[in-house]
């Protein structure tokens, strides 16, 4: 009776019958992995462009820009420009861009989109009791007037790599993009 090794070897004793399918399988797996990286890279780039365009689109929803005359620490007057952002309209414009871009992201699926105004914006206010400037944070409503608009997209990119060796067949990507609004001063308070 042949041993398993003899059965798989050719007439010269080389293990080509074993080696060829093993090498072919390894090659196919490497090719699939490489294709996966290329697809992942392309889809991630697409999601980033989509998020950038969406955050940029949100900044178009500025309803009003105005300047507030404030004193600086040296006693000089300074103008701080605030832009007022219509949050609902900003979300609507961003959604339009995301819907328009979705046709290109064939393998990726957008699962979450968040719109976050800048949260930690402060401005100096003169305190006549202590004779110095206090850095006061803006209220939640006024924070929207900062004019920055950000989009956070959580996407899933499906992979062509099968469920081998515990490898997931989809990859999660998290993309963040923020755009500063461009406003023109309409009034000085």
């Amino acid at each position: 009776m042949h041993k398993m090794n003899d059965f798989m070897a050719d007439e010269t004793g080389d293990g080509l019958l074993v080696l060829f399918p093993v090498l072919a399988l390894l090659g196919m797996m490497m090719f699939a992995l490489m294709m996966n990286f290329m697809i992942w890279n392309t889809e991630k780039n697409g999601i980033q462009i989509m998020a950038d365009s969406a955050s940029r689109a949100g900044t178009v929803a500025i309803s009003k820009s105005y300047a507030i005359r404030e004193r600086t620490g040296h006693g000089l007057e300074d103008y701080h420009v605030y832009t007022e952002l219509n949050e609902a309209e900003a979300e609507n414009l961003s959604e339009q861009v995301i819907e328009g871009y979705k046709k290109h992201i064939k393998l990726a699926e957008v699962t979450q989109v968040d719109y976050n105004p800048v949260e930690n914006f402060t401005f100096p206010v003169w305190n006549s009791n202590t004779f110095r400037y206090d850095n006061r944070p803006l209220s939640t409503k006024k924070q929207l007037k900062n004019g920055n608009f950000s989009v956070y997209v959580k996407g899933r990119v499906k992979s062509i790599w099968p469920r081998l060796l515990g490898v997931k067949d989809e990859l999660e990507v998290e993309i963040y993009s923020q755009s500063a609004a461009r406003g023109t001063v309409t009034s000085v308070h």
């Binding site: 290329m38 697409g46 861009v97 328009g100």
Partner: protein, 140 residues
């Protein structure tokens, strides 16, 4: 004569089999490069359309928006290398007013390292991906 002997030269070295193996390896390598070019071409088209769309969005009227978008996309694509050249573009919009939706299309031409079948569109050595980027018109 055994098959294994046929692949060896007179000194018993496996030079012949080495040469036979190198040819398909070169083809496989060229195919991988071709797929890399195709994927890169898609990214170049996407980035060019995004840059063009951004330039178009801030312009006040449709004709200057199109010319600036076209200029940016052409410069971007032709500077990308890897056998990728600018092919055509298109600016789609309904009305040229602030907060209106518009879309800018860019098609690039990728001349691949060897004939391939990119995404089941037929075996050929050039590939023309089109990508578009939507934007909201910002001009007053």
């Amino acid at each position: 004569m055994k098959f294994d002997d046929f692949l060896k030269d007179e000194d018993g070295n496996s030079t012949v089999s080495l040469v036979i193996c190198i040819i398909p390896m070169v083809f496989i390598f060229a195919l991988i490069i071709s797929y890399g070019q195709a994927f890169y071409g898609v990214q170049v088209a996407a980035n060019a359309s995004a840059s063009g769309a951004r330039a178009a969005a801030v312009n006040g009227n449709a004709s200057s928006a199109y010319s600036s978008a076209n200029q940016i996309a052409q410069n971007y694509v032709n500077g990308a290398g890897m056998g990728i050249t600018f092919q055509s573009d298109n600016l789609e919009y309904s009305t040229w007013k602030r907060k209106e939706y518009m879309e800018y299309y860019v098609t690039v031409n990728v001349r691949t390292a060897m004939p391939m079948n990119p995404f089941a569109s037929g075996i050929k050595e050039s590939y023309s991906p089109t990508r578009s980027c939507p934007a909201i018109i910002e001009g007053e």
